[in-house]
């Protein structure tokens, strides 16, 4: 009966343990614009992934195209009775389907190149921060040199040497973008290296790779994720620009930029939709990714923590 002898202890209110992820989500959701942008990004990615099932027509299947349907305005009916909601291009291709498939290429090239650049750039940045001395100096000198030339010029140079093609565009984008990842990773690593947990890990005589990859890298990730999001948007823009100039993806795999370029000549005669709608799709994609990146930066930046 000893329990009842105790004065009734106030029930200990254990604050519900908020996981870091839950905190992150609630902080992210503080901005409605950011939430809408995130939803938009998810929708765009879904459309790109499921384009073959969502689109009314396969724009690559020439058997489905009829040149007589060419340059129909938005809302026109096809001979089979379905509607070209966004009109058709000069080949009689449904623009809505073209945009869905174009998104696949644009996003694939943009995200793919950013991921590869992220791995290479982060590895080099961490190496520079860890090795210091001459290695650090030469890697960072290379980064400075790379960043002193504008992206479009570097990409132009590489494509002039290699010719067009999806792989070459991706290579050009990786070469343009790795330097920013390297710079970000290095500065984050330099800050982390001086933290106490790193000292503790070093005192345990852990192997170097474990120190870098298990202890330091996860803590360097927030700034890298932020810069990565923004660089995906930049990669998509650059790819669209290069394709618009006729240096990017080949005509058999039209990205959004190439769709816009195809419609350019008809715009002067008032057939705006061939260029306009792919342009809107490109714009919404880039803006949404950028806005998500902005909010990520605000949430993940410890200096802005309230």
């Amino acid at each position: 009966m000893s329990e009842s002898a105790l004065p009734d202890t106030p029930e200990v209110v254990v604050p519900r343990q908020e996981t870091p992820f839950a905190r992150f989500v609630s902080e992210y959701a503080e901005s409605p614009v950011a939430v809408v942008s995130f939803v938009a990004v998810v929708l765009i990615v879904a459309v790109a992934l499921f384009a073959p099932w969502l689109s009314p027509q396969n724009p690559y299947d020439l058997a489905q195209l009829d040149i007589m349907d060419g340059r129909l305005p938005p809302g026109a009916k096809s001979p089979e009775g379905w509607t070209f909601w966004l009109g058709t291009d000069d080949q009689g291709r449904d623009m809505l389907s073209g945009i869905m498939y174009g998104l696949r290429i644009s996003l694939g090239v943009g995200v793919g190149s950013a991921l590869i650049a992220c791995v290479i750039g982060t590895a080099l940045g961490l190496t520079a921060a860890f090795a210091g001395g001459r290695v650090d100096g030469s890697i960072m000198r290379l980064v400075d040199l790379q960043l002193s030339f504008p992206a479009i010029l570097v990409a132009l140079m590489i494509l002039a040497f290699l010719g067009k093609g999806v792989m070459n565009v991706m290579l050009a984008l990786v070469i343009v973008e790795w330097a920013r990842f390297a710079r970000t990773a290095r500065s984050a690593a330099l800050v982390e290296a001086r933290r106490e947990y790193m000292e503790a890990a070093r005192c345990l005589a852990l192997p170097k790779w474990r120190l870098i990859f298990r202890h330091m890298l996860p803590n360097c990730m927030p700034p890298i994720i932020v810069i990565g999001t923004i660089l995906v948007a930049r990669a998509i823009t650059l790819e669209a620009t290069l394709s618009f100039l006729g240096l990017g993806v080949p005509i058999t795999e039209p990205s959004l930029g190439l769709l816009i370029a195809n419609g350019y000549q008809y715009m002067l005669s008032g057939k705006y939709w061939i260029s306009f709608y792919p342009g809107i799709a490109l714009l919404v994609t880039i803006m949404a990714i950028n806005l998500v990146g902005d909010q990520l930066r605000d949430v993940l930046n410890p200096r802005l923590k309230r």
């Binding site: 040199l145 002039a160 290699l162 100039l245 816009i260 008032g270 490109l282």
Partner: protein
């Protein structure tokens, strides 16, 4: 100061040399030099003769040496399409590009600084916040799409401005310029605006940040306490202090504008060297490509050098640092 300048010069020469190596490797090792340097219409015998004449049977370092010597003498080969020295072609198209780029620089300063000042002085006003919000668009919108929209609205729908070309030009110092005639100016409005948009946003944001940073400083309080008129405080005292970063960035961006003119010139069919390089890449006119790349790299290095020197002249703190 002199040693610093000398070191900086040597560095520039090395970067230039490195770029010649990259361009040389790009053309001669990654690409097929025979296809690049000999016109595709040549037959087998002609080909063999050309290989010997061009020295493609020699070792690579010897070929590079020849390329370098040629480049130093301004000989970068002849265009296949125009059958003229590639360098001369670039030089002919350069004024059109420079004209466009410099107009864009002027626009970014004339529009960007006042807007930035306003947004910095009244950061919480509706207009101030609108300026900042819209300026994000200046960064993130793809430039070629903005160009298309400008054409669609102002040339096709409203019919106010001509959509393509350079319009009438007039001669000055032996070069044709568009900005000297009313028709040429009308042709320039849209391309220059298109090219300037990103930089307007950049200058605007820099100016705003500078104003926000400088307003709480003691020298501003002191100037106010002395009874100097508010406009004089802003336009003379504050503006002078925020000009250093703006001058640096605007200077560095000139190179970026010339490079980015590739896009604007293609959209508006502006006959500058950017349009020339795109056309040349599409028809594989490699001597012109090489000449363009060498020219623009040289331009970049010279601009970076000048900005560095200007920076030293403008900011005494940098000057003192470099003395040691």
């Amino acid at each position: 100061m002199t040693t610093w300048m000398l070191r900086r010069l040597i560095q520039a020469v090395f970067v230039m040399l490195a770029m010649t190596v990259i361009v040389f490797i790009g053309v001669n090792v990654i690409g097929d030099p025979i296809e690049i340097l000999i016109s595709p219409e040549a037959d087998q015998a002609e080909r063999a003769r050309a290989v010997a004449a061009l020295g493609l049977d020699k070792p690579l370092w010897e070929q590079y040496w020849k390329f370098l010597l040629g480049a130093l003498q301004g000989d970068l080969g002849r265009s296949f399409v125009f059958n003229e020295p590639a360098l001369k072609l670039i030089a002919q198209r350069m004024p059109a590009t420079l004209e466009l780029a410099l107009t864009a620089v002027l626009m970014s300063v004339v529009i960007g600084i006042p807007l930035g000042l306003y947004a910095g002085l009244k950061p919480s006003s509706l207009a101030g916040r609108t300026i900042m919000g819209v300026s994000i668009l200046g960064f993130s919108l793809p430039s070629f799409w903005v160009g298309l929209m400008l054409i669609m609205v102002f040339a096709v729908q409203l019919g106010w401005l001509p959509s393509t070309g350079r319009g009438q030009t007039a001669e000055l110092f032996g070069v044709q310029w568009s900005f000297l005639t009313a028709n040429g100016l009308a042709h320039m409005v849209m391309p220059a605006t298109n090219l300037a948009l990103g930089n307007i946003a950049l200058v605007l944001r820099l100016t705003r940040a500078g104003v926000r940073e400088n307003l709480p400083m003691d020298y501003v309080k002191f100037a106010r306490a002395k009874g100097i008129s508010p406009s004089r405080v802003v336009f003379v005292h504050v503006l002078k202090n925020i000009m250093i970063p703006i001058v640096t960035v605007v200077g560095l961006e000139i190179g970026g504008l010339i490079a980015f003119a590739v896009v604007t010139e293609s959209v508006f069919a502006w006959p500058g060297m950017g349009k020339l390089i795109i056309d040349s890449i599409n028809v594989l006119d490699r001597p012109v490509i090489v000449a363009y790349l060498m020219m623009i790299v040289l331009l970049f290095i010279v601009i970076n050098l000048i900005v560095d020197l200007l920076y030293t002249v403008l900011d005494p703190r940098v000057r003192l640092e470099n003395k040691e």
